[in-house]
Point group: C2
Chain length 343, copies 2
């Protein structure tokens, strides 16, 4: 039975089948598509534009906290993962392993990063000599791979994009404080940019990050009443510092291990956006993250002057700083209304 309110008919009823509604929305609004390898996802231009806005807005907030971006290699020697006992136990079942490269079997297997604490720890141990080098406050935007059995676009995929911040501090207090500060950055970001209500709190021992002393999570509230983990901030204590020999000469001339933190959010935030704001017509994006804030659809485009006027309007909006687009394709206006309503 057709629902009168359901202007867009290609997507499942949000009230009757929320999971199907979600999948319909992400695929049919061309946010993403399924990749050829099971569990992988293609982020299409409309979805990627949201990610670019998220990156830009988040980078602004990271910069205020003194964070700089960098890039660390994706391939991690298998031995690195094994150096921290809880860490290897937590990630070993999910990793993808490179055994051949350049036509030869590798002497040591390489892991595609499921997260980068170990490889970054090995570099930090080289870079930190004295208390003068601390704190180290670095973030990277990259891809990671975690091989999971059940996958869903944006929410859980074998490869996903994320940011991972990794810091080292001279004292436990400073590192613990920074862990909290970044959790706060995430909370503000979720509320101000994504316009999603969130609850933050400490994870149980069982749920915490593999190798962390304490993990704090941000749970985002979805339309179906469920919560979705949308970001985590970990206080790592000296666990990775000891495994990777991250030592520094302190002001009192003694050698000490540093205290580290790590914190991450991912393309899952796009999934959260959809599930927190959608409606029976499809996607509904908060203005700050909407790639297209105004769409101009000319009616009777074939008539003289119509397309020119539409272009003029679009340009005027663009000049005002509004992300406007003109749909001048030769599809019918009805089809255009339908498509853009869904998006």
């Amino acid at each position: 039975m057709a629902n009168d309110n359901q202007f867009v008919k290609e997507i499942a009823d949000i009230k009757k089948d929320f999971p199907k509604w979600y999948t319909d929305v992400v695929i049919k609004t061309q946010l993403c598509d399924y990749g050829p390898v099971k569990g992988t996802m293609v982020i299409r231009p409309y979805g990627y534009a949201i990610w670019e806005i998220i990156q830009k807005e988040m980078d602004k907030r990271f910069a205020k906290k003194g964070v700089k971006n960098a890039y660390f290699p994706m391939l991690i020697p298998e031995s690195f993962l094994k150096k921290e006992a809880e860490h290897v136990e937590g990630f070993a079942p999910e990793v993808a392993v490179v055994t051949y490269a350049g036509g030869e079997e590798l002497a040591e297997k390489l892991i595609i990063r499921p997260t980068s604490e170990t490889i970054i720890g090995s570099m930090y141990s080289k870079w930190m000599q004295s208390y003068r080098d601390l704190p180290i406050l670095i973030n990277q935007w990259c891809n990671v791979v975690r091989w999971e059995k059940t996958t869903r676009p944006f929410l859980r995929t074998s490869e996903f994009l994320w940011q991972e911040g990794h810091t080292v501090h001279a004292t436990a207090e400073e590192a613990e404080d920074y862990t909290q500060q970044m959790l706060q950055v995430y909370k503000e970001f979720a509320e101000e940019v994504l316009a999603i209500p969130v609850i933050t709190g400490k994870k149980t021992e069982k749920e915490k990050f593999a190798g962390a002393v304490a993990t704090y999570g941000m749970e985002a509230m979805m339309l179906d009443g469920k919560s979705l983990q949308a970001g985590t901030s970990h206080y790592l204590g000296q666990n990775f510092a000891k495994s990777f020999d991250m030592k520094f000469l302190d002001k009192d001339s003694s050698l000490k291990y540093g205290y580290s933190t790590s914190w991450g959010t991912s393309t899952r935030m796009i999934g959260a956006l959809i599930m927190a704001h959608g409606d029976e017509r499809g996607l509904k994006l908060p203005p700050v993250v909407a790639p297209v804030q105004v769409i101009v659809i000319p009616v009777a485009m074939h008539k003289e002057g119509v397309l020119e006027k539409a272009k003029e309007l679009k340009n005027k909006l663009s000049e005002m700083g509004i992300r406007a687009e003109l749909d001048a394709s030769d599809n019918s206006p009805g089809r255009k209304f339908n498509e853009w309503e869904m998006k």
Copy 2:
């Protein structure tokens, strides 16, 4: 013998040993460091800031050509690479292969992308139905892996960052024209942003991209009189369209294969920057790409008011839109001068 002109003494003499000078500069100015896996590179914050500026400047120019960014999976089924005969021959010796994932041996081996024509082609074949869907103009910023025997930071590394644009057009003329347009974008970018003189031209049959009909390259001129390939634009004809079934229904109601192009530039451009502009004192960056355009170094910082004045100056410069930084570390002014002179 010390050279009087050589203010910075930690780096090799540019006139006597250019390769050593290059390596000294990239490592000692903290643009990058060697990763734990042979042939890999860590891009440190100072180097990554250059990459971020390059990305921003390039994205502006891509947008003017109608290009949108997207993201495609990194793992490619081995069978994809084999579909285009020249392509597999060209890349097979360099690929890194994932054979295990999630604790199990994979039924089909997965290749870490050395370039993405094949996986992107498989998606385009799904997305293009009618002439209305063309042209497809998509770029992605990502990491790629090519396992090579001899590596050098930024110039040739097992993993590197790049952008790869992939387009499909209805006619050969349009695709050929687009190939040339993108080569022109690269040339203008190199000259206007990187301030590097370049020569563009067609590659020989032997040098062309594996699977292309024609490859056009941009050679950048370095201080030692050698040229460095800094970007390429490929006209792929229908080669990949036929291998990946990229067909569309044309206006005349007949099914046709599309004509595709691809074009890329990489973190190698940072290497080009260094080798085109450096001098005996180290790095010399054109203002457009310099992460730090003005460095404020307070002298006699311990005296009352000095640090405040320095901060004031730094803030004034920042407000003017100049990328300024203040070095308030407790290193000596002499060490600071030396460090920043090198950078």
